[in-house]
Symmetry: C2
């Protein structure tokens, strides 16, 4: 089915290629921990500035995945006070894949300020939306033929994606501890927009 | 279902982002035709050297998508006489997508020599395997839990992917004429390996 299919493709076509440090084989490949260390050395960051060395994967229940995570990092009552801002990306991972030579895999780093405190120092994280769901959102928005079918099953599909991904990660010794899945509703009970930065900071 | 789901994600998450020349909006974005022209100017190629300005998408019925297309460009009886060789890539397309800033989309160019003739001059094409099927192949190979289920339905899934992709492209004014799908069996009736370069040249 569509939802769990997306989870299998997301894991085997992406997460297992970019997260783990390969033990042998691909000489140039660097997993996410090595790439975070390189980033910290390059930008002279303290260990405390990068507390969680994993990929945060955001799964929005309502499918809306922003282009820039800054957009969803405000409290609803103060919508210009951004908690997150894009920083430079981690160095890229390049692999030959299915005929494409040196296909580029990139992850973005974001700074997060806790605006509830008066701290000047941000925390750094590697975070992104779960891309298959952004694509699924585009399918619904742009494909008139199938969109009614997909819209009616939207929640089941997202749910299947999330559960299947959790199962696959639980069974993967390589990747389980290298990413953090955040399943969240983009509006709370009062229809107010949620601040994703708060969720990540927890 | 899994097969048509992969086709929807492949089109909305990739083909419609990399193939068309955007009319307005994304200033930096260049569709495949413009990127091929840039390549030809850069490498000083004659118009005849790049006869088909589309993306060739290879869909192998048996799911095996090689890492480098050179590997499948030999006749079975002459397995070191390669017809294809990777050339430089087209310039990349970079887009902000689902939280990843400037995600990189790249296509590879291959040279093809027709070894049946004694020509010195290769023809250039932009070609790659349909990546979702390479990922699906990896799922089957590496995931013991699901692989029996997937293996039993393998042909239906590839078939659904191919048919759905054809339908979507037929309905897309933007992308229909910018790619060429090649559905092929990687071995012929005598179990001999097929030379993909011959198929592309037709
Ligand atoms: N965040 C993120 N960064 C990446 O670099 C990346 N690469 C893949 N994915 C996601 O993993 C899964 C498996 O990928 P696969 O390559 O089999 O399918 C991909 C692939 O067939 C094609 N595609 C996408 N980007 C490229 C690309 N750069 N080159 C070739 N093909 C591509 O279109 C499909 C859907 O892409 P996305 O909908 O962006 O999400 C994919 C997918 O859900 C990524 N996710």
């Amino acid at each position: 089915d569509y939802g769990s299919g997306m989870a299998y493709n997301y894991f085997y076509g992406y997460l297992r290629l970019v997260l783990p440090d390969p033990e042998v084989g691909t000489p140039g490949a660097k997993g996410i921990r090595k790439r975070i260390e390189t980033f910290m050395n390059h930008h002279r960051l303290l260990k405390t500035a990068f507390p969680v060395r994993k990929l945060f994967i955001l799964i929005p229940r309502n499918l809306y995945t922003p282009t820039d995570l800054m957009e969803v990092s405000t409290d609803w009552h103060n919508s210009t006070n951004y908690w997150m801002e894009a920083a430079m990306s981690l160095e890229t991972q390049e692999l030959d894949r299915a005929g494409v030579k040196q296909r580029v895999y990139k992850n973005s780093v974001y700074k997060i300020w806790n605006r509830d405190r008066s701290t000047l120092y941000p925390v750094y994280v590697v975070a992104e939306g779960a891309t298959p769901l952004k694509t699924f959102y585009d399918v619904i928005k742009m494909n008139p033929k199938m969109s009614r079918v997909f819209k009616n099953h939207q929640h089941e599909i997202v749910s299947a994606f999330y559960k299947t991904l959790q199962d696959i990660l639980r069974d993967s010794d390589d990747c389980r501890d290298l990413c953090e899945i955040i399943f969240y509703a983009d509006t709370d009970e009062n229809q107010r927009r949620v601040n994703v930065a708060r969720i990540i900071l927890e």
